[in-house]
Amino acid sequence: MLLVVDANVVFSALMRRGKPLKVFELNKLLMKFEFIAPEFLFFEVGKRVDKILKFTEFSKEEFIRVFSFIKRELELIPLETFEDKIEEAKEKSPHLKDMPYVALSLKLDCMILSGDKGLKECLPDRVITPSEAVEILFGGTAS
């Protein structure tokens, strides 16, 4: 099952007791999902390393270790691949920030993995939450 991962999931995975990290860990073993994300996701994360280190209180080595783990689970998709879905995505997205993930999910006809409540409320049939993903990994179906 192909899933678009948004930045919300990536950052929530760096939080203590967060479900998103569980999703990446379980999927590493069970390989039920193929995670994709828009190109430049990691580039933009990388530009904010100082802020991430300040907030998490990780050492640089610890951050690199966790970040590499998540990075290995994701495939980046070039923006040009789904630029033809920008207009449709703009109309469907609750905020401009959600547009790249919606465009990518429209292009590849797949769902978005996100913990963003606004996005889930706006597109309930196109978004699965990390809790729902964990449920699927354990053999259930997304509600």
Binding site: A7, L14, M15, F69, E83, I86, A103
Partner: protein
């Protein structure tokens, strides 16, 4: 020790030749141990994280908006 039956896909079986049942067991337990060790290490680092939900959202929104702006640039 718990027992688990694992079916090896035919193509993998051919590639790895005639590996004995005992060696498959060893191979599988080494693989699983290595995977679980990595997960344990990641868990241990993240368990110390001081990142709050609000901070995670702030960072995520910044990154997402930056990607959206790049995408709009391509469209122009």
């Amino acid at each position: 020790m718990a027992e688990l039956v694992v079916k090896i896909p035919e193509d993998i079986g051919i590639e790895l030749g005639k590996i004995s049942k005992e060696d498959w067991q060893l191979l599988f337990s080494r693989f699983l141990r290595r995977e679980l060790e990595e997960i344990r290490e990641i868990e241990s680092i993240v368990s110390k994280s001081k990142l709050t939900e609000e901070q995670a959202k702030e960072l995520a929104d910044e990154v997402s908006l930056a990607i959206a702006k790049r995408l709009l640039e391509i469209e122009k």
